[in-house]
Symmetry: C2
Subunit: 350 residues, 2 copies
């Protein structure tokens, strides 16, 4: 059977109406929405065809129609108007971005939160990019004889610092030498090696130097391990309760647990794809078979990428979410391209 233009138009009407009203769409409504040029009986014939072809479903014999995953897919691919965000939406997104991103460290988590509030669905955020982070540079700042500040800069451009207490006094004059030692031997290498290298150096050092060195390495290890890339941040979980399909706690349970306990099951995005929409059963994870996910990526530069995803019912408002999410991702990319470019790769520090 052929998918005529009229069938497509009907599918579009059904999908958009169902997205809006969350209840099966009747032939009468469709006839009206199409301007009354055909009768509801004609629509019913077409609807029967569309069900047979697998684009629509009927909850029960005497009910209206709702889109099947296949129907949503066709809608997203062909029928949906790929609209741009309106000026007002753009203004809202920009004002949300305004001044929120001072802390480069927390970009990932922040982005997730903002997206959730922008699209009114739960969202998640994760870093994609370099698989392993190393320390690019150490600095040690004197505080007093029993403590100093360790500053660790990673090659994904995070700068972290912490006050460390020593057990033996350390003269502040020794700190530059220590920092030099660290920068010579402990940059650009992976976590595991940090420990072995430290052990290798141990015999050459007195306790008063070894201790702070070891503390700094320990801190650096924590910084690397705690890197945002390993975390999946989720926010706006409560938004799913606003969706009629998840009013029932038991229905929402699966989604809820994937958004809290099993975050790692949330889909990621293939490289070089700016945005992807996963509809219902297209999702790999069992808990997402009744949900849809829209994922987009943005560049933080220096081969760092951030990923943001939106989770909602299959009945999700794809047009709006896609428009807002891609605008948001583009804005972020632009933002980092302009003001926050990455530091140069080579260190030209003395």
């Amino acid at each position: 059977m052929e998918l005529t233009a009229r069938k497509k138009e009907i599918l579009k009407v059904v999908t958009e109406r169902y997205i809006d009203a969350a209840e099966p769409v009747s032939s009468k409504y469709i006839a009206q929405a199409m301007g009354g040029s055909v009768s509801s009986a004609t629509i019913r014939n077409e609807l029967a065809d569309l069900v047979e072809m697998g684009y629509l479903e009927q909850p029960h014999t005497s009910a209206g129609r709702i889109p099947s995953p296949k129907g949503y897919r066709l809608y997203v691919n062909e029928l949906m108007e790929r609209r741009k965000v309106s000026d007002q939406e753009a203004a809202e997104i920009n004002s949300a971005l305004q001044g929120k991103m001072q802390e480069l460290d927390s970009v990932i988590a922040q982005a997730g939160q903002m997206v959730s509030s922008i699209v009114n669905y739960p969202a998640y955020a994760v870093a994609a990019g370099k698989s392993s982070v190393t320390v690019r540079r150490y600095d040690l700042l004197p505080v007093d004889t029993m403590s100093f500040i360790a500053v660790v800069m990673t090659d994904d451009s995070r700068v972290k610092s912490q006050l460390l207490r020593t057990e033996l006094p350390v003269a502040s004059e020794q700190l530059p030498a220590l920092a030099n030692l660290l920068n010579t031997h402990f940059t650009g290498i992976h976590t595991e090696e940090l420990g072995t290298k430290l052990m290798a150096l141990a015999p050459q050092l007195g306790a008063e130097l070894f201790m702070p060195l070891s503390q700094t390495i320990e801190y650096a290890t924590a910084v690397i391990d705690n890197s945002e890339r390993s975390h999946v941040f989720t926010t706006g979980q409560s938004q799913i309760f606003r969706q009629p399909e998840f009013q029932d706690l038991s229905k929402a349970d699966g989604l809820m647990s994937i958004l809290t306990d099993q975050k790692s099951q949330l889909p990621v995005l293939d490289e070089n794809t700016p945005m992807q929409i996963l509809i219902g059963p297209e999702n790999v994870s069992e808990a997402l078979k009744d949900a849809s996910v829209v994922v987009a990526s943005y560049d933080i530069g220096d081969n760092m990428r951030g990923l943001i995803g939106v989770v909602g019912p299959t009945r999700m408002d794809y047009a709006t979410v896609a428009a807002r999410l891609s605008y948001f991702a583009e804005s972020l990319t632009k933002m980092f391209g302009k003001n926050n470019q990455l530091p140069p790769k080579e260190d030209d520090i003395p």
Copy 2:
């Protein structure tokens, strides 16, 4: 009417049973729980008295009894066994604390998360203490001619750093002088003054010095304003759905919004009170009239205090929550007293 010992015992049985089972308690159950020394008819007489005195309520004529807020209050004040945490509980709490607190900066938020998982109710965390934070010290580290790292140490012992880009080249030799300038003129003063002081100094400086100075001050302002004290962190919101009284989404709505949107309405603790229990209508906030809150505080030292609260139904397990929360708060206080003492107040840095 007098509150006899037997009435108190009955009240205790009713409260604990209701906390456990979440359904009205019958006279028959009480008679059994009290060892069968009296009949259920006797209990019924007593129950009628307790209702009249306002300690118990009856959902409807032919139902069992549940505690009223007044009943919970008496229970908490007089009847509840103020138990210590068991060895096993203590072990669990300690292992949760173990190694989690590296980042002094995020103590507050971490504490909230841990408490929520320890007590299985939603929790919130906020800082209480010094009303205004100032910068104690600045450091500027060279990266390249167009960027440097600003390290800001506040007098509540947070150390924050960020990479800043300059528009004009800055020779790395100038950074120590700049840092010196900052440490001389811009430490120990409030946010508003930072700006005015910067303006006052502007004429004496060339653009190549003024720009990075101004950027650093801007960053310092952000660090101060973004101080955790202004934030209320909430976690474990989904725990409230585990409570039968909040199965209904409409019931949970009020609590949910206070735990997400209107966090500032969550109660804080009077100074010098180690722990406080607020039952139902004792809460000021309307949305908490049907809920109870247990708040405790812990010391981070140097007149910094942290606050953690637990939110649950009035039917909350006060004995367990109170025991675990106070043990947790004490552990935190001890932890900071021992290992993480604050840096000295006077800076003895060159």
